[in-house]
Symmetry: C2
Subunit: 385 residues, 2 copies
Amino acid sequence: MSDTYPYPIARVGLIGGGQLGRMIVRAAKQLDCTTVVLDPVENSPAGQIATRQIVGGYHDASRIRELAADCDVLTFELENIDADTLAGLEAEGHPVHPSADVLKTIQDKLVQKQFLQDNGIPTSPFEAVERPSVEQFEAFGYPLVQKARRGGYDGRGVAVMKTAEAFDQNLPVPSLIERFVEAEKEIAILVARNPRGEVATYPAVEMCFRPGENVLDLLLAPADIDTATQAEAEAIAVKTVEALQGVGIFGVEMFVQRNGEVLVNEIAPRTHNSGHHTIEANVTDQFEQHLRAILGLPLGSTEALSPAAMLNLLGAPGESGRPVLRGLEEALAIPGVCLHLYGKATTSPFRKMGHITILDHDTATAKAKAMRVRDTIEIGAEETP
Amino acid sequence: MSDTYPYPIARVGLIGGGQLGRMIVRAAKQLDCTTVVLDPVENSPAGQIATRQIVGGYHDASRIRELAADCDVLTFELENIDADTLAGLEAEGHPVHPSADVLKTIQDKLVQKQFLQDNGIPTSPFEAVERPSVEQFEAFGYPLVQKARRGGYDGRGVAVMKTAEAFDQNLPVPSLIERFVEAEKEIAILVARNPRGEVATYPAVEMCFRPGENVLDLLLAPADIDTATQAEAEAIAVKTVEALQGVGIFGVEMFVQRNGEVLVNEIAPRTHNSGHHTIEANVTDQFEQHLRAILGLPLGSTEALSPAAMLNLLGAPGESGRPVLRGLEEALAIPGVCLHLYGKATTSPFRKMGHITILDHDTATAKAKAMRVRDTIEIGAEETP
C-alpha cells in the first residue's frame, strides 16, 4: 500500500532554533515527526523542545551536512542561511523545502524584486544600488526606501527616507532603493504549497507596525479590506508562490494603496510572524501546514474559526537579563487571551520574548483587548541583587 | 509588585507520562513552564517532550519525592498512583493539585459513590461488595454494573450484567454494584477550578463507546441535548467539583436518562479523553486550563469556536509491534481533520496511539467525516521480516 507511513512519519531537520522553529517543533510532535534543530545558541527556543539540537552556525556547512545526514527533509525558519550548501545537498538527493533556489531568490532582496518584476507581480518601482550616492537617490526621487540586499530582518537593513535630507541615514552596503509606498494598509497572506502543486491560502491579515521600529506590533485577522481586495491580494500571493515553485509555507507581505491597488512588498519563504494567530484561530495552523507541505501530505483546512488579534511580547526598553513577567495574572484574566512564551533565557529591549493571541467575536473587540494587554503585561529583567 | 512571575513561570511535576501527560507538557511549554515527568517507561509519550523524565513507578514513594523536590507543584495524569505519599508531601508544604484527599476520594470507586451520595449529587443506586455472591447480586437486582473499587481504567475493572446468568463474569475483588442505567446519552463536562474557587466549565460533549469494549470511540461536541439538560448537567458537574474542593480540571461523566434526568457516572480528577477536541475547538484547551488552575492563574475562556468530533486512534486488532500508519494521506485530505500522534514506540490491539479531531460547521458533518476517517486510517504494526 503506497499510503503507508512509518512512525515517526519523518525526521525533520530544521535550520534555526528561534520561536518560529519552536512552534514548528511543537507541530512536528503532534504529527509524531522527530526534529533536529541547528542553532548556534545551545538550548535555543526550538532546541529546548526538539528531539536533538546540533550547536552550529546557520552558515556552517559541516553542521548543515551533519543535520542532513540525520534527517529525511531539511527546512528552515529564517532565510539568512547557507544556501550553497543546501543546493549541494539537493544535488546529492536530500530533499530541501523550500528549495535552495527559492531561498537564493528571496535572500537577496534585489534578486527578489527582479523576480517579482520578471513574473509580472505588482511591486513598487526599484533600482539596484552599488554604493549609495546623493545623485542616484535624487534621480530616483524621494520618498524612497533603501534596503540592504542581504541580512535584513525585523526592520534592520531598511532605511526609509522621506526627503533628500534623510540621505545620510543610508546603508553603505549593496542594496536597492524602491519607491516608498503610501499604504492604506499593510497586509499579509500565508500561502502553502506542496510538491504536487496543491495550494492553500489563509485569509489576509492586517499588520500594524510600531512607528519607527518596523517590528510587527499588532496583527488583526481578518484584515479590514473588501472582498475584491481580498480576492486580488490572494491571487497575487498565489501567483507569487507558484512562480517561485515554492514548497512549504510563505508569508507574502503586501501594501494596499489608497486606490485599492495591491503591491507585493516582500516574500518570507517560511512561517511568518503574521501567522501566529493561526494556532488558535484557524483549523490548521501555519506550522503544521508547513510540515504537511514539505512532507508531501495533503494541505489542511485554512478556515478561520474566529477573528483574532496578535501582539508580540517584546522585551521592555532599558531592561536586559533574566526575564520576569509583570502583569501576567491581569493579562490572563482577560477572556480570549492565549499566551505563548518562547523560553528565551535572557531579555533585552524589543527582543521577541513571546506573543499573545486574543480571540473575540470581532476584530475591533480583539484589538481593544490587545491594547489592554499591551498596557498590562511587561517582560522586564530581574533586578540584579 | 505581586503580579510578577519568574521565567519559567513554574516547574511542574507530573506523575504519569502517557498521552494526557504529553498534551499537558505541550501546554506547559507554551506557558514556559518546565516539566518533570515520572513514568516507569523510559522515553514515555510525555517524557519524550518534557524537560526531564524520572523513570519510576506511580507508587514509588522515593521517586515521587524526588519529583517533588525538583518542582513547584505536583499534578498527575492518571489516578492509580500513590496518594499516601502525596498526602505526606502536602503535609510538608508541597503543593499537590488536585489534592491527595480528592485523589483518595476518587481512586476508590466505592468512596467516590458514597461521596456523591453524601453530597446530594444524583447518581445511580449502589451497594458495597466485599466478595461477590449470587445472593447479594440477586437481592440488589439486575441489570447491574459491578465495578472494582480500585485500578479500573478504560473499561477494565467493570462488568456489566444484564441478567443473573451473567453472574459468572463477576470480578472477584472488593467492589461495588450499581444499578445499570439505561442511558439515552453519555455525556461529559469538563470543570476547571483554581485555588481561589473560580470555576469554568466546557460545553457538554457526547461520548460514544465501541460496543463491548468500553473505550471511548467517538466524541461529539457539543452534545445533542436541550438547553435545560445542558444547564442541569453543568450545575451538577460544578456542584461535584465544588463539593470536592477540587483544584485542576475534572472530567465529570454523566448519564442522561430517557426522562431527561442526569446522573453522575464517574469523576476523573484530571484531563480527560472527552476533552481532546478542546485543543482545536475551544479558546483555551483543557491542558492549558489545568495548568492555569493548578498554578493559581485566572482560568481561560472555554468558549467553543467550532463543533467537533473526536476519534481515538486505536491499535488495529491482531497487530503488535513497531507502528505503521496506513491511509494517512487519505485521512489528512479530508478538510477539518487534525491529527495527533502520541509517539508510542509499539502498537498493540486497541492501544490508544493517537486521536483525530474533526472540525466542521455542525456535529453531524463532523461525525460523518469521523466515520470516514475511521474507515480510512489504521495504525498497524510493521511486518516482521
